[in-house]
Symmetry: C2
Subunit: 330 residues, 2 copies
């Protein structure tokens, strides 16, 4: 158990709301089908000026303001997104510039565990803080998924949205119960092809004539992800909760990666959680890739759905295919 807390959270949502009616018209499908298939009624799309850096820095400023801290108080910045702003340098270094950090102040790095990047980063920085490497760390997840939607694959084209969320993580002050109890992440390489963006790297280089435009877009096999995830997540969560000594009833809130309506429904239908426990922002946000989970967490804290002292379980499945869970007292 790490004596480490989430000091504050912050968010940024692009102004532009995209309702199902708009997508239905452009994709030639029924609005009802979108709601039924994905659970999403509306999502946000970033404008050209709302880059993942602009969104990430806005969420970071919100988190800093909520903590009463300045950017100069940060010892490290973690870019915890599935997709970078550019290949080099890492997104965290570009965020540092966007936030106006002075030279030499913070260590900047990106940590990528695709959709689970935020809880994975939280677990990692808990160890860094507990061992005294850093004291105050900013984690930023910012995703501009709308840049990589394939209109030919309507299941994923209607699922994703853009957003950014950020958290300040620091040692727990004395007298407060906040803690990171532990985390567990397990990759299942047999599912590595279930969710892909093939392009962007050296495997399918943007300048390679063999790289097609489709390779630079999301390709998801929703039914296979669901089947594999649904089979594995129950035993995975049971084992994790046993290991940290939690029972389901002690959990005030379960904040899962907002992968899809079916993934969220699974939590109550088959995994033994009550609807009151499950935080769900999918209908108005869509699946915002790595920003989904911290955004849902931040919104739940902002609306007092999660309060100091509450036991909170973060988790879900992401591309990899990776299952993850992290237990914390907020």
């Amino acid at each position: 158990m790490f004596p480490v807390q989430i000091t504050s959270l912050g968010t940024y949502l692009p102004a532009r709301r995209v309702a199902n009616a708009e997508l239905a018209e452009s994709l030639g499908i029924a609005p009802d089908w979108i709601t039924r298939a994905t659970g999403v009624r509306e999502r946000r799309y970033a404008s050209d000026s709302e880059t993942s850096l602009v969104m990430g820095a806005a969420a970071a400023r919100d988190a800093l303001a909520n903590a009463g801290l300045a950017a100069t108080d940060l010892d490290a910045i973690v870019g915890a997104s599935a997709g970078p702003h550019q290949t080099i340098p890492c997104t965290a270094a570009l965020l540092a510039r966007e936030l106006g950090l002075p030279d030499g102040r913070a260590a900047c790095f990106d940590l990528n565990a695709t959709c689970l990047s935020f809880p994975f980063a939280l677990h990692t920085v808990a160890a860094q803080i507990a061992t005294g490497i850093y004291r105050t760390i900013l984690i930023v997840s910012s995703e501009r998924a709308s840049r990589s939607l394939n209109p030919q694959e309507r299941e994923s084209a209607v699922l994703f949205g853009d957003a950014a969320a950020a958290a300040i993580v620091a040692p727990t002050p004395s007298g407060r119960a906040s803690a990171i109890w532990g985390g567990r992440f397990a990759t299942h390489p047999s599912g590595a092809d279930h969710t892909v963006v093939l392009g962007g790297g050296t495997g399918y280089h943007p300048n390679d004539p063999a790289t097609t435009p489709e390779m630079n877009l999301f390709r998801m096999d929703g039914p296979r992800i669901y089947r594999q995830g649904a089979r594995l997540i129950g035993p995975f969560l049971d084992e994790f909760l046993r290991a940290i000594g939690w029972t389901r009833v002690e959990i005030a809130a379960l904040v899962a990666h907002q992968a899809s309506r079916h993934a969220i429904d699974l939590l109550t239908d088959r995994l033994g959680f009550t609807p009151a426990q499950v935080v769900n922002n999918l209908p108005l946000r869509g699946n915002c890739v790595a920003a989904s989970l911290p955004l849902a967490l931040a919104e739940a804290v902002a609306t007092d759905r999660i309060r100091r002292g509450d036991r909170v379980l973060l988790g879900g499945s992401g591309a990899g295919l990776t299952l993850g869970a992290l237990a914390l007292t907020y």
Copy 2:
């Protein structure tokens, strides 16, 4: 100080050697100029079948064999490269598949601090191992820089090479002096534009008509990097060595990021290290981005240049601009 050791190292070099004469002819420059400007006489270029996954997995198998371990002994895999194989999923998950890891065995994530990704990952996993999160971790740095060379920018086009290197990191067995003493990393956002690959992410998306082919290639301002790095690295190293209580004479080997001839010369000319201390594989390997440092370290260990019990300093500067140093007893 973390009671954590590098259990073993592994490497992979593409078969194809590219001498200065070959590049000089294709770029229309003098072979002498390449040696003088960069210190590189030869570098390796990957073939089409030597993807960063193929190279990374080969280096990982080499490290596993050197440790007498199987892939199933790994609790986590860290992809520690500046450039990914593809955008989603993370490179570590793809490496897990390449290595034949069974489902659910290891946690896979990428950690990116550009050229300093390896020492940054080593510092991070030391904290993860010391706090009991993982026991045996594989770090893989694999770079296919030759995919992103701009023939119009000859200074960088002749500098880079392809390679992969890997390390197994684990708790130090009793009776051995191996340890990670500490690390320090500091980003200087004013240098964020000195080394870039703008493309590959959502900022300059591969499918955006405004993204030019040049944006998907390295763009480096060597003189500015050198000036900023040379001004900062002395005080940075002095402060780091003071903090961990090391003097220069105690250091058996200094393994720096093989950024350029000028960066390596600086270590002996102005930073107080002797030529015997400085490990230098630049002439035959080139700058292999994040793979450079672990490759130089692995080659120094393989040739008994570094032995168990030696104090070793890793460090240098990378895109960001980030300075870094990590002290270990091998």
